[in-house]
Symmetry: C2
Subunit: 373 residues, 2 copies
């Protein structure tokens, strides 16, 4: 258990990445008396307003040296940090989660093989690495299909829906012919996710399965718990998360995006970190995903993951409303990340918590109108 | 409404005082995307771990100049900041609340006269400024009584219970014969308080009246809402708060400490700021006292003050438990301020929120045993 730093004060947590996830980790940890620092290539990272940010590349040893000084435990807020950085830091400090959690999440092909090895279903898929793979993959998977870059995709970037072989050729050219996977287009009933956390001692806890709506590949809304979910499917989601957590000896929070299709669940993607579909837990669960991540990496006991009432989380994209007053008049928890406006950028979110699921949904509709949806 | 800073980003709030109240203001404001800086004479102020702290005296113009640069609105977290500092800053920036809120709270005699002017009862009292006042005051108020310094008292410091005239003489000598008030010792049934907030437009909101237990003059426990409070008394507390808020044109959060005695309420003290007996609102109310203070000083609409369930807040004094694990296993919200341990020092608090008042109380007893109470 990490409970004291070299200076006799509370531990210092170092975060690889200074985005809103790192910022919200710090906000959860400040409440517990923890101290934070982050490292990010971007000087205007959201973390910069709440703590000391080292600006530099994640693969620069001098930057990492400076970052590591005085830090007691390292974590990361994006799976796009280089494995080499995690290993470099891991040679002198605990880095949690470890490189194993990162490896499976950085490459969609590795991830799908990993899931298959655990007996977890995914959409059918095939790799595209050379021009001749296009016809093979198209023939095997059929159309429509989704072409996705193997690496560095997020929020719908690095993917395209393709309707036929010609569109597949064009899409791959648009992606500069980097290694890709072609995935079956799943006609899902809805998108779900499960956020789970595993402690240093291996204890696992699971938040209720939630329902997610995406618009243009970006999470728009999360309903927690997912309405009318068959108990068998909730149990299956927990099994999946438990086996993924254990297989990589994960320490911290992790999310699995799921499709509900034909009465079964398919895994879409693993996010081995705190996740946008878990933001509702700040206001709507006994312990937030951020606090539980910190508890895990510090070796503390995990906190309760039960929901308090019914929550709806709505992302604020692009820019917050120019007049915040109407939103401030609703009984919602407003979260803004201090980011400069940019189209489709996640700049904040709001959470509605209500004892009644239908009232929560109605209130969410009202809030969405205010957000100009 | 202050919604944007000169750099086009979210407003910067400047806080006079870097104690835990300033820190918790910042934590509430970070969630809203706000930026913070604070000024405090102590370099190891709790604020220092969460934001830029200017270290210097509140009455030093150069310190205040540095502090004011880039700040959009100034507030204070302690009534012990000099009125001159508030006026100095107020000449160029909005300072909220203003000097009027400060004046009445810095001097116990002025405070009691102010309350009397609003028709609000207090314990009987008399001033002690010269040696001959001792006999006069002792004769008028009787014994036991409480001798309190007129200025700079907090957490039971600067006050003493005196049983007779000799003890009064000795107590005043111990207080270096500074100006004091001698107060009637009120045989109260219990201590209560009301936390209220007033917006820039004059709108007032009131949190439920709470019950407070003090040990050695320091707040130990708050129960929210106060159990079994007569509705007429709750109404009277709201009236008192409303008249105090309006009389000084207060903008922000304010607390009044009360005695319940003989079926009536007496005002004990005004704290024209966020208050320890309102810490439960972070976890147990729809909008916390900290967020509402920020909403008020920024000119935003106020948030809902309703309680969610029944809360018990317990202060952690001296030092956090050396092993946090047992506490972390309870379903409580743990708040630590990052302060170095010192006897009787407020270093953190925990809040239990439960739908059932008796279960909340039972759980609080369990937590208190873990805190070594």
């Amino acid at each position: 258990m990490i409970d004291v730093s070299a200076d006799g004060r509370a531990p210092v947590v170092g975060v690889l990445g200074g985005g809103q996830l790192g910022r919200m980790l710090a906000l959860a940890g400040f409440r517990l008396g923890l101290r934070f620092r982050a490292v990010d290539p971007a000087a205007d990272s959201p973390f910069a307003d709440v703590g000391p940010l080292i600006v530099g590349a994640w693969d620069d040893p001098r930057t990492l040296d400076e970052f590591a000084r005085g830090v007691d435990v390292v974590t990361w807020e994006t799976e796009n940090v280089p494995v080499a950085a995690v290993e470099f830091l891991g040679a002198r400090l605990p880095v949690r989660p470890g490189a194993a959690s990162l490896l499976n999440a950085q490459d969609r092909a590795a991830e799908k093989r990993f899931l298959a090895g655990l007996g977890i279903r995914t959409a059918r898929w095939s790799t595209v690495e050379e021009t001749r793979d296009l016809a093979l993959a198209g023939g095997e998977i059929g159309f429509p299909a989704i072409l996705k870059t193997r690496r560095l995709g997020y929020d719908g970037r690095g993917q395209a829906r393709v309707e036929d072989a010609q569109a597949l050729d064009r899409a791959w050219a648009t992606m500069d012919r980097v290694p890709c996977v072609l995935e079956e287009f799943v006609r899902f009933r809805r998108e779900l996710s499960i956020v789970a956390v595993r402690g240093l001692d291996g204890e696992c806890r699971f938040y209720p399965v939630v329902e997610n709506d995406h618009i243009g590949g970006i999470l728009h809304r999360t309903r927690a718990p997912a309405p009318d979910l068959a108990p068998a499917l909730a149990g299956r989601a927990i099994e999946m998360a438990a086996s993924v957590l254990a297989a990589v000896d994960h320490v911290g929070t992790l999310a699995i995006e799921l499709f509900e299709s034909d009465g079964d669940l398919l895994a879409n993607e693993i996010a081995p970190r705190v996740h946008n579909s878990g933001h509702w837990t700040i206001d709507g669960a006994v312990t937030s995903q951020f606090e539980n991540h910190l508890r895990a990496i510090l070796g503390w006991p995990l906190g309760e993951t039960a929901a308090r009432g019914h929550s709806v989380m709505i992302n604020i994209l692009g820019a917050p409303p120019s007049d915040l007053r109407p939103l401030a008049r609703t009984s919602t928890a407003i979260h803004l990340y201090g980011k400069r406006p940019r189209e489709r950028r996640k700049v904040g979110h709001v959470t509605i918590v209500d004892p009644h699921p239908t009232r929560a949904a109605d209130r969410a509709d009202d809030v969405e109108r205010l957000l100009g949806g």
